[in-house]
């Protein structure tokens, strides 16, 4: 099998499960996303997250495509443990291949929207929750604030008590919202 394994996770899988399953705390009530990150086409905001397992800070990253605000990602990362994110959600984008022995090829394809986590072998796999498999609920989850609640529940992350952070995109502009999901739109190929 050619699939790449993340050794930090494979060798410490119980620790990884605790990292994922135990309650995490975030402190920002309104996450304002106004500036681009490493990729000029993507807005990015990084917030601090606390986990009882460590005194180090974890991070919660929100990425939103500049030209399509319905195309967003949420990522949890604990850089000292593993440089890559350990849990993630993609609202749109490419289809993941769960390249694990025992999963038939026909069932390895997981289109977006989907979550990413790690298999005990250290291979990153994608999965869809029941909500994401339900057409009506999936439609509702295209809204970033409905979706962040789903992500917080799935990753056991909260503000104080049972509260969820709110996301505001481009609050420093006129508030124009971009949501075209046709990437070829407005490109003259001829």
């Amino acid at each position: 099998m050619a699939s790449k394994k993340v050794s930090e996770i494979a060798e410490n899988y119980d620790y990884y499960k605790k990292l994922l399953e135990e309650r995490k705390s975030i402190f920002t009530e309104v996450i304002e996303i106004n500036s681009v990150g490493n990729n000029a086409n993507t807005l990015e905001k990084i917030e601090k997250v606390k986990h009882p397992i460590t005194s180090d800070d974890l991070t919660f990253t929100v990425n939103v495509k500049v030209k399509n605000h319905n195309f967003f990602q949420f990522k949890l990362r604990y850089e000292k443990f593993c440089p890559k994110h350990f849990f993630r959600f993609d609202s749109d984008g490419d289809t993941h291949r769960n390249n694990v022995d025992g999963i038939p090829l026909g069932k390895q394809s997981i289109p977006t929207p989907h979550f990413h986590k790690y298999h005990e072998s250290g291979i990153e796999i994608a999965y869809q929750t029941d909500k994401l498999l339900d057409e009506n609920e999936k439609k509702a989850l295209e809204d970033i604030n409905t979706c962040i609640a789903h992500f917080f529940h799935e990753s056991n992350t909260r503000l104080k008590e049972d509260d969820i952070s709110e996301v505001q995109i481009m609050t420093n502009t006129l508030g124009l919202s971009f949501s075209s999901n046709d990437p070829n739109e407005n490109i003259d190929f001829l």
Binding site: A2, S3, K4, N39, A40, N41, T42, K65, V66, K67, G93, D94, T95, H96, R97, N98, N99, P104, L105, G106, Q108, S109, P111, E124, S180, N181, D182, P183, N184, E185, N186, I187, D188, F189, L190
Partner: protein, 272 residues
């Protein structure tokens, strides 16, 4: 033959991977071709005029596959090999996203074109996973580019400056760290020179030299008002006694102004 049943399963499994998503006037086609980082390739089919267009949706350039194609020469050789072999064209959107695409005039050719573009994307994304560049060098360059970009943004009108930009849209290889448009017909080319070793630093000077020379060969030469080279005086590769003659050559040969990073306030005067 015992393998007939297995072969039927192989065919069924492969065929079952094809999926679609409707996206406005385009159809996203999720193909059975996967990358080394376990992503199935999507292509986007649309009709423009009488032509069928199959594009990557800008996904390579947008970083959707979670890789960034680098500018290392070895990488570029492979990249151009695949681009030429599959006859893949490219176009930039108004926002600067590069789209890779192929065209088909007749419906009969669409599957074959999808085959080509999928293989192109699959290879480019997979090869982008390889570390062609020295890690320390890459970090040194990225850090200096980020510092220098931030400084230029702080002293100039950001509407008038384009970072990592081509002078001539038809000559993509002639790319500058920044181009400052004092007016539409009066522009300044800016190159950053850095390096994590003496060799990398010297090569960075040679690259600046070549880029200025190539810029002068384009139709845009008449609009070049000034050339500015910003020297990373904090870099490990910055050894003045060893690189001095290269910088002197750059200055004399291309008439570029040299600005040391530790005297960066001079940029305000030059670009002001």
């Amino acid at each position: 033959m015992i393998f007939n049943e297995i072969f039927d399963d192989i065919k069924k499994s492969f065929c079952g991977l094809w999926q679609t998503k409707e996206r406005g006037n385009s159809l996203e086609i999720i193909t059975p071709y996967a990358t080394t980082n376990n992503r199935f390739i999507s292509v986007f089919l649309m009709k423009q005029g009488s032509e069928f267009i199959i594009s990557d949706g800008g996904w390579i350039n947008l970083g959707v596959y979670d890789v960034t194609p680098c500018e290392d020469l070895s990488f570029l050789k492979i990249f151009y090999h695949y681009q030429n072999a599959f006859n893949v064209q490219e176009i930039d959107s108004k926002e600067g996203t590069t789209f890779f695409y192929v065209k088909a005039t007749n419906e009969i050719d669409i599957p074959s074109k999808i085959f080509d573009l999928s293989l192109f994307i699959q290879n480019i994304v997979s090869i982008s996973e390889i570390n062609f560049e020295n890690k320390v060098e890459k970090e040194t360059r990225e850090l200096f580019v980020s510092k220098a970009n931030d400084y230029l943004k702080s002293i100039l009108n950001t509407d008038k400056i384009k970072f990592n930009s081509n002078l001539d849209p038809n000559r993509k290889e002639i790319k500058f760290n920044a181009i400052y448009y004092k007016t539409q017909n009066e522009l300044t080319l800016v190159n950053y020179v850095t390096g994590s070793s003496l060799t990398y630093f010297s090569n960075s000077i040679f690259k600046a030299n070549t880029l200025y020379e190539m810029a002068e060969e384009t139709a845009y030469n008449q609009y070049i008002h000034d050339k500015v080279t910003v020297i990373d005086t904090d870099a490990v590769g910055y050894v003045p006694q060893k690189i001095g003659h290269f910088l002197l050559h750059l200055e004399n040969h291309t008439k570029s102004k040299i600005v040391d990073w530790n005297k960066r306030e001079n940029l305000k005067v030059i670009l002001g």
